[in-house]
Symmetry: C2
Subunit: 577 residues, 2 copies
């Protein structure tokens, strides 16, 4: 039945805009009234039952002439007596499956619409409130199945009590926004539900990944896009972990078989402003004490002379300096370490240079801003998360490696049941053995599809726009009463770090009392923000600096008016503190 239901895409349906013969206004009203798909399908069913196959074929031709003659239609369905077992692969499960999925899509598209609606607010609920069951929203799992009606209600409630990370005024994380093409890509990915480990079950996705990685390496500046790489699970932290493991394999391949005991005491270097994942990676074998933190200038950029001094110090102690991480876009300040000067030192002392561009890598897409990563082509490996600055849905992180073969050498275990060498196709496309994991989620498609849809220029425009917005914010508050910048000068990335001082603090002398009170301002304003559900922005202390706001812009939906709103909201909520 569903297969022959009238399609909405039938371009030949126009003649029927004429009223049915002999109809009155009431009849027209009836027609409109009747134009739900359920009714249309019933009528069609009636017609098909009562007329010849030719007639049926004619209708199908008339309605389904456009792209999909088998278009399915949403119909009123009572889900209260339906269960998961009634869906495909159940017998006669096709129609319930379609109707259930369309109902879900109705919920999702409604959510998408609300996401971009500035009047939508997000209420905050404490864990105990949600656990007690908000308005009947029961999180507990049970032995017996729930009806599909309940499942749909659960879907609605899940979104209702969640946080709209795509909202134009959501500035809380480095990853914000909701890209529609990316979203479509994710829906397709989960429908395809396959695994990247072998070409034979993910042929198209494996090729897309290879082409996209090559393109990214070209943009990094490696000649001909040569090199290697992989999309890693869960983001920049794992990409950074890869870099540490590969570097160790490059210098001490014996560690793979003999363990760390076979290597001398290895030392790693990273900025005190760098992401904590470098520390996590060092904890897995090296020991966090062997990760040396580098001093930065006032704006959070590594001081190269400090790196060289610490390398020499380590060597004097008999340790082996092996790895330096230069951050392109630190998490809090958005600072870019001077890659070229660091690369000089790495070459001089034969150390691996990794560039953590998880946050700042996106700027490589911008002709205007890519100079901030100048020297990145000298890196041995690069982390780059398109799910941050480029607006790709979570999760999407790449580790790019200049030298081919290291990823494979470091990680391969040649599992015979998966990577058979006697398959009938070119098994160099089975890239799974390069990964630290076995099963690998398809992350590539959404990014590939977005790139197709936006073009390289589309990403560039997005990035330039975000940086313009943050420059707008910086200009707006740098001399504004009650605002104080955490570091001076225009930010390098979209990170704008500032304190808000309520009037009650503005005339206090600098000192312990002022610091302690200021430390509490950002958390209080943030709590009030979440209670009123209007906007969200992050805060944190850094080094000896008390809590300050870190504003970041990566959301394509944000405009100057949203920046204005944020500033007004901070003043409104913080004025009486």
């Amino acid at each position: 039945m569903a297969a022959s239901a009238p399609s909405s895409s039938g371009g030949e349906a126009k003649p029927t805009l004429l009223p049915p013969p002999g109809s009155s206004y009431d009849a027209w009203c009836g027609v409109a009234h009747g134009c739900t798909r359920k009714l249309g399908m019933k009528i069609c069913g009636f017609l098909q039952k009562n007329n010849s196959l030719e007639e049926s074929a004619r209708l199908t031709r008339a309605h389904g002439a456009a792209r999909n003659a088998q278009s399915w239609e949403r119909a009123e369905t009572d889900f209260s007596n339906m269960f998961a077992r009634d869906l495909l692969p159940a017998k006669n499960g096709e129609e319930p499956t379609l109707q259930f999925l369309l109902e879900v899509v109705e919920i999702l598209t409604s959510y998408v619409r609300k996401t971009f609606d500035r009047s939508t607010k997000v209420d905050f609920h404490h864990p105990h409130q949600l656990l007690e069951g908000m308005e009947g929203f029961n999180l507990e799992l049970s032995d017996q199945p729930e009806s599909l009606e309940q499942i749909l209600v659960d879907c609605r409630d899940t979104l209702k009590y969640g946080v709209r990370t795509g909202h134009p005024r959501f500035f809380n994380q480095l990853s914000t926004g909701l890209d529609i093409v990316g979203l479509a890509g994710e829906w397709l990915t989960s429908t395809a539900n396959t695994n990247m480990f072998t070409y034979e079950i993910a042929p198209v996705f494996v090729l897309m990944e290879q082409l996209t990685l090559k393109k990214m390496r070209e943009i990094v500046g490696w000649p001909g896009g040569e090199g290697d790489g992989i999309f890693s699970p869960a983001g920049g932290a794992i990409s950074n972990m890869y870099s540490v493991m590969i570097a160790r394999y490059k210098f001490f391949p014996v560690v793979k078989t003999k363990g760390m005991a076979a290597a001398p005491r290895l030392v790693l270097f990273t900025s005190e402003h760098s992401h904590y994942s470098i520390k996590k990676a060092s904890a897995a074998g090296f020991g966090t004490e062997n990760l040396i933190l580098l001093n930065t200038d006032e704006r959070g950029r590594v001081i190269p002379a400090d790196l060289e001094a610490k390398v020499l110090e380590a060597k004097q102690k008999g340790y082996v300096p092996m790895y330096v991480n230069a951050t392109a876009g630190t998490t809090v300040y958005g600072a870019f370490d001077p890659i070229n000067e660091i690369a000089d030192i790495c070459e001089k002392y034969n150390m691996w240079l990794h560039v953590d561009g998880a946050w700042g890598g996106g700027l490589l897409m911008s002709r205007k801003h890519r100079h901030k990563l100048s020297g990145v082509e000298r890196a041995n490996s690069v982390t780059w998360n398109p799910h941050k600055m480029m607006g790709v849905p979570l999760q999407y992180s790449a580790i790019l490696v200049r030298e081919r073969g290291l990823l494979q050498g470091c990680n391969s275990m040649c599992a015979g049941y998966l990577f058979q060498q006697d398959k009938q196709y070119d098994v160099t496309y089975d890239t799974g053995d390069k990964a630290i994991q076995c099963g690998r989620h398809v992350d590539i498609f959404k990014f590939w599809l977005m790139w197709k849809a936006k073009g390289t220029v589309g990403f560039e425009q997005h990035i330039d726009r975000c940086l313009e917005l943050s420059a707008y914010l910086y200009q707006k508050i740098k001399n504004r009463a009650g605002f104080e910048m955490v570091f001076s000068g225009e930010p390098q990335h979209t990170n704008v770090c500032f304190w808000y001082l309520p009037p009650s603090l503005r005339n206090l002398p600098d000192g312990k009392n002022r610091r302690e009170r200021l430390h509490k301002v950002a958390p209080k304003i943030k709590a009030l923000m979440m209670e009123s559900g209007t906007t969200m922005v992050g805060y944190q202390p850094q080094g000896d600096k008390v809590n300050f706001f870190r504003m970041v812009v990566s959301n394509p939906a944000a405009t100057c008016s949203d920046i204005d709103f944020l500033v007004d909201e901070i003043e409104r909520l913080g004025n009486d503190l």
Copy 2:
């Protein structure tokens, strides 16, 4: 316009089943003809423009009485001149966004339908064929944007040239099938597009994860579901890596800060049949030479006496036996190691016991089969992948830990910008610092939703059914001419391992010639299978055994007739080899 379009869920529309007054058969036909949504919307638009607001309200009441008065409708849209920039957050982007997403859903639901259609075949294409551009399917990325029409075509082509892992005759991996509720859960997850690292941006998902992990621990058998756990990225390999890292932290916490050099030579044990991820994990610091492989019996189960002998041998050499992995459901044979006997040895020598139940963990849901994991409650940690035997969409793997605090202790780095301790809510719900990564994809929702929809009993039925099917296969081929079992006796899991011998090999004497020829049979049949696109099943060698088929059943769509088909197909394709 969209907001007031007639909804298909209006229960009050029934009276219009009567023909419009004064209508003839032709008029009825016109009604049917006109019942595309596009037309309905046009008519409604006409009515609303030409009549009072009351009339419009009446229509809305009549049609939109059910769950969503703002139901959106699919309309014919020309995407050839539309681009990603026309979608939300673009001004007036709401309607194009909806129409684009609905068009994608049309493609996806059509794919879902075909997935379950046994007559659908999958053509195999070599990498070079796809790279050359099949029928205009161009994988290359360009600088300029493509139209949304092209994007939709790309979506269709991506699915067209992919592999239907949900097809009832896809038996190639441990993860098969396409669960509709799980799929809906994934669509919602990507629409919510948030990150698990803090409660403040994923409140509902964080709580769902906690409740689900507790439930899983209860099922493992830890009193009151006490303990800890996390869903890890990318599957069992990372969960197993967690187990090794936690064990090391438990016995030698100093490694976190001082590195492996501060620990004695640590030795790990696992079956020669165990998953290669244990070896990968050991390569990261321990050295693969410090992973001792244990002998198994003919059916692939660890021989406990061999473990004890090897522990004593390692101790004699001055090494420290630290960790034993017992596999519950090996990848190839589906063997269950005797956990209780291994646990006795672990207790005796103070070693960490990990149970890798990535594949076999699902059997815990079955009252009939859970005895195969008897003793699992004595493990210190357990890997369990619901994305395998329980049919949850990829990816979904849990690491469960009996002792609370170890995960946190092992991995926490206390990043100030993310895990602020002065937030206004109970920050123990910020679980991100327990993870090896920073950003963490929301994996929980699809599983939670499936559990709600199926109930515990639904999973049990699925698992029992899969085991029945594999028993059916075993019975069918164990004495069948041309089939030879790799090990004797009924398999413990759904893995059925067998050789197919073409008639030309059946009378050959055992020896090098026969072995060499037999080794080539499975790859050849597999290649022919992929060329004809009818079914897919895995093969591999194991130890000194030449290539054999490994049949596994985890697909809820599979039936006895599909098993019959597989056997017939192997005979058809292999008969003349």
